[in-house]
Each structure stands twice: as C-alpha cells, then as structure tokens.
Amino acid sequence: MNELQLKVLELLKEDARRDAELIATMLDRSIEEIKQVIAELESDHIIVKYATVVNWSKVDDEKVTALIEVQITPERGRGFEGIAERIYLYPEVKSVYLMSGAYDLLVEIEGKNLKEVASFVSNKLSPIDKVLSTKTNFILKKYKQDGIIFEEHEDDHRLIISP
C-alpha cells in the first residue's frame, strides 16, 4: 500500500461520494491517476463497498442490535473458518470477528425487536454443533461508530467573521 492509495482511502472514508476529480484536485494528481488508483483498490477488494452510515435509532426505535460472545470448539483442519461461515451467512448477522480472550467469535446481530434476536440465538446459533456457549449483550445506545460520532455536538462554534 503506497502513500497515495492511503490518502485516497482516507478521503473516501470521510465521504464516499467524493469523485475522482475532487480527489485529484485535493491531492494534486491527475484525474486519470486517481481513477486508476480507485479502480485498483476496488478490484483488489480493498474498497469493498460504498455504503451509508445510518443512525437507525432515528428511524426505528424498536430495532435492536446485540453483540454475542460465542465459544466454539475448533474443527480439525479448518479451525474456526467453517463455523464462522455457517454463522455469517445468516442475513441477521451483521458482523463476525474472531477474538482473542475469553471467547472465540463476536457476532453482531440485528433484529426487529428483542424477541427476534433471542429467537435467533436459541434456534439458530446455539444449536450449531461445536457451539459451546453464547452470551448475548444488547446494545442500548450507539455513541460512535466507525469513527463517526452520532450525537450532534460537533457544531461550528466559530464567529462567522474574524481577523
């Protein structure tokens, strides 16, 4: 990863709608060069997707997210990969991380309500062979996600004209 690629990624991470022309101007490069860098990052799957960060709590109060600590027995030859896959293929599962520490997988699940998440855990997740235990933690409030603060406290407090 070179410096230019990093800078392009940082600018896109701040705002994915920035086009090659704007980025080229900001980094003092040609548009063609930036287009090529972005194309490479996309084909290498370094840029995976251009998505929108949504504060869902403003859309749907009932919606819940849970972080579930899952302990599993690794499989011979495949380690955690096979079970991780069985879990992450469920659409309810938003993210899955292999963790160091007291448990193995951290699974993020989103549901319409508490009941839906509870039912997913008891009907889908726990019964998986090799899953030893689960511990469900519901998220009560999101303050910050992916470096973005959800509370609107970053207003511009500056005087509109100053010397």
């Binding site: 600018l11 705002d15 920035r18 704007l22 101007t25 900001m26 980094l27 003092d28 970053e154 511009d156 500056r158 005087l159 509109i160 004209i161 100053s162 010397p163």
Partner: protein, 407 residues
Amino acid sequence: MAMIKDKETTTSIPRKEMADYLSPMARGIKPSGIRRFFDLVSARKDVITLGVGEPDFTTPWHVREAAVYSLETGKTQYTSNAGMPELRGAIGQYLNDQFAVEYNPADEILVTVGGSEAIDLALRALITPGDEILIPEPCYISYSPITTLSGGVAVGIETFAKDNFKLKAESLQAAITPQSKVLILCYPSNPTGGIMTYEDWLPIAKIVEENDLIVISDEIYAELTYGSKHVSFASIPGMKDRTILVSGFSKAFAMTGWRMGYACGHTDLIAAMLKIHQYTVMCAPVMGQYAALEALSPHGLEEKDRMMESYNQRRRLVVKGFREIGLDCHEPEGAFYAFPSIQSTGLTSEQFAQRLLEEANVAAVPGGVFGLGGEGHLRCSYATSVAQLTEALDRIGNFVAKVKQGS
C-alpha cells in the same frame, strides 16, 4: 412631616458626553473594517462563511483533557510570570527541533496571552513616541492600531500579488527614514498566504542590519506552509538578537480560544516585556498552559501534522476553484487563506464582498481592510469543510458570471 426631596432640583451640573472622557489615543483608533462587515454577516441566515480566521478543527481531545485534568487536580494558582518552566522548556525544544532557533527557556522565552499580547508587549517595550514602525501590508489588522497606542507611527509598506506578496528589499529600503525603529513581519501571511524563503530573507536581513532595526516576527502561521518548510527570520545569520519571535498555539494546534502565545528574544528585550506583562496580566492562564504543554507532546505534534495535510488538500481545491471561475489567484504557500483578485469584475473589494453576501450568501473579507495592497482582493479562509468549500465556489462562480455579464 419629613421633607421629600425633589429629584429635579438635585440634578447636578450638565454632564459631558461619555465619549468626551476618553483619551485622544482611544478616540483616535479607527474601528476595524472587519467589525462593520461582521455586523452585516451576522444579520443573515444560512451564510457559508469563508471569513473565519481560525481552524475548523476543535482542539484535539487529549489537549482539552490535559486542561480538564489540571483543574481536577487543583492546578488553579498563578504560575511563574514568564510561564511554567516546563512549558517554556517545551517551547524552546519545539522551536529548536522545528525551526532551528535556539532560546534559553530561563530568560529568553515568555508565555503570553495569545500572540496578540506578545506583539503589544514588544511594541510597548520598544517604542519611543515618534518612532516609525514599518509594517508590510496587506497584513493582520492589529499591528497599526497597537503601534498607535504605544505612541509609534505606523508606516505601511505595500506588497504585491505579482510578487506573491513577498516583502521586497527595494520597498523596505524606500520606506526607511532616520525615525525607523521596528519592522513587523508576518510570514506566512494573514491575509495573503504569502511566505518568505531563506533567499527572500537575506536581502531583508541586510537592510535590517544596516539600519539597526529591531524585528518583531509574528510567526503564528509557521506550521502552515505547503511545499517548503517555514524559515524563521530569527534563524537568518545575525538576526536572532535583533528579532523578537512571536508565535502561539492558536493556528497550528487549533487552540484560538485558549489565548496561548509566546515571545522569544534577547534576554534584555524579554526582561522588559516581562515587566510589562507581570504588571498587566501577571501570567497566562494556568489551565491553558497545561493544555499547551500537552499540545507539544509527540501525540500533539502528530495531530498537528494531520490537520496540516487536511488544509493543504483544501487549499488546492479553492485555488483551482478560483482560477476556474476566472479570478486571478496567486499560489498561497502558507496560512489557510487564499487571496484572489476580484479586479476583473470591476468592483471594489468592499462592493464585491457585500454583493457576494447579499446575492450569493457567501461571506469573505474584503481585502481593503488589511491595508495597502489589499484592495482588489478578497480574503477567503479555506479552513472549512470540503462540502462547504465546494458549495461556496459554486455560488461564487455563478455570482462572478452574473457580475461580468453586467447584471
């Protein structure tokens, strides 16, 4: 029966107007041209402002937290008049590392209430009434009024867009008289974004030497240069003892509201400034000093670099934008201002700024308020978000097209 005093009959001798009590000095100072414009802008809604002379970053959290912690642990007392020794030490180290100028924290560094206080102290310490103070313009709006307050005579030296607003030796030479005493320098420049390189400084230093001038070098934007590193005037051979270097934390560390600045110079000059400082403000606020100390930590310097990169990206965006709109814009190599020429529109900077505000809802500062050479330009700060800058450039583009079509 008690006497009831009649208010009317006890009225004293006819009073003077309150303003009549003011000193001729206070009355003589002109209100800032920025102030009038501020009132115009404040009356409007949804203005995109390019008129702000401060970073759009909030002070990094770990710096703010250092101040909070100092309060929690009861660090609420006076500090040494010159500032906490550890802060002076950190400033000395920082200046040496970044700009290769060496000052002894014991008696050559003074922590002040913003760079502004440092400039005031320096002028008060140096001026004998009637002394001429040389000020390259366009420049920050305070130098001339503070000179007047100290009994000095401000002598503007015009700089030009064709020279990227650098101070030229011939202009300086032409302004010198037997009364010339002090030269005030501010590079990187507010409002022009102009800088001075080592080669640019050499002939200036020669004139300073030949005419036995003292230099107040306001280097508050020293960290904000793009392409070449800032060269402190004090680092030019032979100039250190003649120079009072003024700087602070406002711009580079996004700490404008903290009012943390400093002055460095020859111990005799700093001692005189310290005397005035201790009788007027005693010491800079202690919590600000703790915050400043944290700003100079490795973590603080990293944050500073991150902010610089972001200014540079936005600088390219606005310069290109102005040129595409058809406004001449010299390359601003420092600070966070672009200073495009609006002469092609046929409007004065005041007319342009006022109509831009009223017709396009974009605020920027008319160049005329910054003194000689500022007329015909517009100071546009690019310390604002990319989205706002893009929108502002769109609006300015439409406005300029309209003006050029003669409507």
